[in-house]
């Protein structure tokens, strides 16, 4: 099954905006590739599930050098003793903001909602989250500190017809 290229630009826009605003890092657009399923290319991975009328997974993958620089810039106000504790937390929040902002741009059905899960962050070989088996667009972005790849595995599902069913409300 094909994956829509319409998903790409919202993630580019969101990633560039968020990286610049929270970490002061300029990103430029790089490669676009098709994969059979998400496949993190670099050492640090952040996985976020998507649910609602779009379903799937977004997997962020970056080199350790870029992750270190992002966290360093995000945690400038943090006490030094807290920085190790906050490392994975800050990376998760970065991915959360990019995914949240991208889904807001993607969501043209104003009456429906797209939810996202809390991020799972893996630095090194401790990736314990199962990656979804779904066609994926891999979007590369480049910065002066190294690349980040965003693996977008999303598909649109038919809404039930009841707008309330797509709410995150109980």
């Amino acid at each position: 099954m094909a994956i829509s290229a319409d998903f790409v630009n919202p993630f580019i826009e969101a990633a560039m905006t968020v990286a610049s605003k929270v970490a002061g890092i300029t990103m430029r657009r790089g490669h676009l590739a098709y994969k059979r399923q998400p496949d993190p290319s670099y050492g640090v991975s952040i996985i976020i599930g998507v649910y609602g009328f779009l379903k799937g997974q977004v997997v962020y993958s970056m080199k350790r050098e870029l992750a270190d620089r992002i966290v360093h810039n995000m945690l400038q106000d943090a006490p030094i003793l807290d920085r190790d504790v906050l490392y994975l937390d800050a990376l998760g929040e970065l991915a959360n903001m990019i995914t949240g902002n991208a889904t807001a741009i993607l969501n043209q059905r104003k009456e429906l909602a797209i939810g996202i899960t809390t991020p799972a962050v893996a630095a090194g070989s401790n990736l314990t989250v199962t990656l979804i088996n779904m066609p994926t667009l891999a979007l590369g972005l480049y910065s002066q500190y190294g690349p980040i790849e965003i693996n977008i595995a999303l598909k649109e599902t038919a809404p039930s017809g009841d707008p309330n069913s797509e709410s995150l409300m109980p």
Binding site: T17, V18, K21, V22, M74, L75, D77, A78, D82, V85, L86, D89, A90, G92, E93, N96, M97, T99, G100, N101, T103, A104, N107, K110, E111, L112, A113, I114, G115, I116, T117, T118, E166, S167, L168, M169, P170
Partner: protein, 120 residues
């Protein structure tokens, strides 16, 4: 007297940022919660003047927690601080009785103005 604030977010990093914005501006952080269940329990115990609430959290999300808090205390003052800037989230939040809706990433001035407006 400083206004008492409960900060609810599963990310330690965001709780730190919000705290660093509010504390120098005359707010007292009386509690922090990492999910909706904790938020409801801490609200009942601490009776804060203001709650800052994330949406995406484990156990119970922020919309559900805000709804429960406002059902028990219709005067509760809650502002959402979330990465989910979709129109449906905003509409659902205001329907519940949330006072403001701030999208991450945010400017410190936006958090301060939302907090002050909610308490006015």
């Amino acid at each position: 007297m400083d206004k008492k604030v409960l900060i609810v977010d599963d990310a330690n990093f965001i709780r730190m940022i919000v705290k660093n914005i509010l504390v120098p501006n005359g707010f007292e952080i009386v509690g922090e919660a990492t999910n909706g269940d904790e938020a409801v329990r801490q609200y009942e115990r601490l009776k804060p003047d203001l709650v800052t609430m994330d949406i995406t959290m484990r156990e119970k999300n922020g919309l559900q927690a805000a709804k429960e808090i406002i059902a028990k205390d219709p005067n509760a003052r809650i502002i959402m601080i979330t990465a989910l800037g979709q129109e449906r989230m905003l509409v659902d939040s205001f329907k519940i009785g949330v006072r403001d809706f701030v999208v991450k990433p945010f400017d410190p001035a936006r958090i301060l103005s939302a907090a002050r407006k909610a308490l006015a």
